[in-house]
């Protein structure tokens, strides 16, 4: 017996068709069978998960108020899990077991979810291919010689391979949506502030946000609902009520206005991606939505703005990794200063060092105004473009990624080429807007293509409604990689 979606699992446990322990065993078996080839997981917490599942099976009185009852969930390894190794894919945090859970993890547990392990990612979420992990690459379940995308590549690959129905990822510039798109699953970047960042290892604090990865829009919405909401431990978590998203999933998008920034998506996008995107727009139109052009004139600057801001914030956030309080420490250093310098050289990988150095430069005396302040001002212009566009439309549609999954090793020598994987996703991060990807096509080689929908601030419900309506009438969310 096998249940693929979170909704099916919750229903099957409540109706007595299965138990949380059986579901947990099933997920652990799928991981055991599938992960040798993919390496999506850095840690599988089988004993903790089975104990938790057994406890849920006996707590029948609680079942009705647990929206994720018995659902196995994987957690990206840059999100803190109490007493469970949390490395963010970095050698500098090798062996670290956080003394606390991230708020999102606590809320998952409170919702009845069963955490089964930690997933691979680019080191400190810096990358678009999961090749920057200190613990080896993850492979795309659709083609093992290709990247799953990144940085949440482990989470996306695990869900795409149907090892489990749900995973948490995190975004700074597209790190949930891009891998979800390349792996053919649903990925959501909530509005900045929708989900507490407490316990998310900080990369760029004005951009970072935890988000769901799932095989269906309904599951992704249920996961977001479980983890969202204000948190006294994160002052940037918005004090905005969280809707019951299931009510938004009506299947009815008549009258919905969808904007397409045609100018920015035609250059540099693969033909097969554009074709799938245009066909997706036709589907939305047939369902009663109207499609119109919108302009996002400053979007061409989004990638450079992003790399100036994100590296600056990273250089500050990653100063804490110094070998004193956790993780890795260089051996035989004569002085404290020597220990810092060598710990950081030996503990960080090349991409993290590049970004710390660039961020240090951007923030250094004499360059701050020309780079950091300037980038913050252009960020305002990018936000205003979206504000203007949303006066005329309810959602903005773009491809999620300009290409399907690329080959492992293809872009590692060229940082800028790697950065361009995020060209359609960073805008939502800079503007703080919610955005998601939903599968919308397949290349002739059977590589998934994703449709991206961006909504107004705090209006995840509208993009869930449109993506769910799209999913109902298209076959892509149900297609899965060969085992």
């Amino acid at each position: 017996m096998a249940f693929d979606t979170a909704a099916e699992i919750v229903h099957a446990i409540r109706s007595g068709q299965t138990s949380a322990v059986e579901v947990c065993h099933d997920a652990l078996n799928r991981i055991r069978r599938g992960d040798e080839a993919l390496h999506a997981f850095l840690e599988v917490t089988a004993d903790i998960a089975l104990n938790r599942a057994a406890a849920l099976d006996t707590a029948r009185d609680d079942w009705d108020r647990l929206p994720l009852l018995g659902v196995p969930v994987a957690i990206k390894d840059n999100i803190c899990t109490q007493r469970i190794p949390t490395t963010a894919g970095s050698k500098i945090l090798s062996g670290y077991r956080p003394p606390y859970n991230a708020t999102a993890v606590d809320r998952l547990i409170a919702a009845g979810a069963v955490i089964v392990g930690k997933t691979n990612c680019d080191e400190f979420a810096m990358g678009s291919s999961t090749e920057n992990s200190a613990y080896g690459v993850t492979r795309n379940p659709w083609a093992h010689d290709r990247t799953p995308g990144g940085s949440s590549g482990g989470s996306a690959a695990a869900v795409a391979a149907r090892m489990l129905p749900l995973a948490l990822g995190s975004e700074t510039g597209g790190s949930v949506r891009q891998p979800a798109s390349l792996c053919g699953v649903v990925g959501v970047k909530p509005t900045y502030g929708r989900v507490s960042r407490y316990g998310l290892l900080a990369f760029a604090s004005s951009l970072d946000q935890i988000g769901p990865i799932a095989t269906t829009v309904a599951d992704a919405a249920a996961l977001l609902e479980a983890i969202a909401g204000p948190d006294a431990r994160d002052s940037t978590a918005a004090n905005t009520p969280v809707p019951h998203y299931a009510e938004a999933l009506t299947g009815d998008i008549r009258g919905l206005r969808v904007g397409v920034p045609r100018k920015i998506i035609t250059a540099g996008t693969d033909r097969e991606v554009l074709e799938a995107f245009d066909q997706a727009l036709d589907v939305l139109k047939e369902q009663g939505a109207s499609i119109q052009d919108v302009e996002l004139p400053h979007s061409s600057h989004a990638i450079p703005v992003y790399y100036l801001l994100a590296t600056a914030e990273a250089s500050s956030n990653l100063a804490r990794y110094d070998g004193v309080r956790y993780g890795y420490r260089a051996r035989n250093a004569a002085t404290l200063g020597d220990m810092y310098d060598r710990t950081r050289d030996e503990g960080f990988g090349p991409e993290v060092k590049r970004r710390i150095m660039l961020g240090t430069y951007v923030l250094s005396s004499g360059y701050y105004d020309a780079y950091y302040l300037k980038a913050q001002q252009v960020r305002t212009l990018i936000r205003r473009d979206y504000d203007t566009a949303f006066e005329a439309v309810d959602l903005i549609a773009m491809p999620t990624s300009p290409t399907p999954a690329f080959k492992l090793g293809e872009r590692t020598a060229d940082p800028i080429k790697m950065y361009l994987a995020d060209v359609f996703t960073v805008g939502a991060n800079l503007a703080g807007l919610p955005a998601l990807t939903v599968p919308c096509g397949m290349t002739p080689d059977r590589l998934p293509i994703g449709l991206q929908l961006t909504g107004r601030l705090m209006d995840e419900a509208t993009m869930f409604r449109a993506a769910d309506a799209f999913e109902r009438v298209t076959p892509f969310a149900r297609s899965r990689p060969q085992a």
Binding site: P304, L336, R344, R354, Q377, L381
Partner: protein, 99 residues
């Protein structure tokens, strides 16, 4: 602004960032950082006169909460995570500060 990163520029940055770079990393990072910076420099051509900077996408100010005492993390568990810690004494340990 340097059009390229000289070895001295890199060393200065590495000192500020407290990362001891190997010779091989210096050779690799110099041209890469110069190229990334040249690319990022395109934002300087945009007219931003009178445009306020964005540091928080929602533009909200930090909310207040009641100043109540809450339990801290367990000291023993925290110290146990540190390399070379003196867990008996409950202390982090580091090499001597002066060389």
């Amino acid at each position: 602004m340097p059009a390229d990163f000289s070895s001295d520029d890199l060393l200065r940055l590495a000192r500020l960032a407290r990362i001891e770079l190997t010779e091989a990393e210096r050779v690799l990072f110099g041209p890469q950082l110069a190229r990334i910076l040249e690319y990022a420099r395109t934002v300087q051509q945009i007219d931003t006169a009178g445009v306020p900077p964005t540091s928080h996408p929602l533009g909200t100010s930090a909310p207040m909460r009641p100043d109540t005492r809450l339990p801290s993390l367990e000291r023993d568990e925290v110290v146990a995570q540190a390399p070379d810690a003196d867990t008996q004494a409950g202390l982090f340990k580091v090499p001597r500060v002066l060389g």
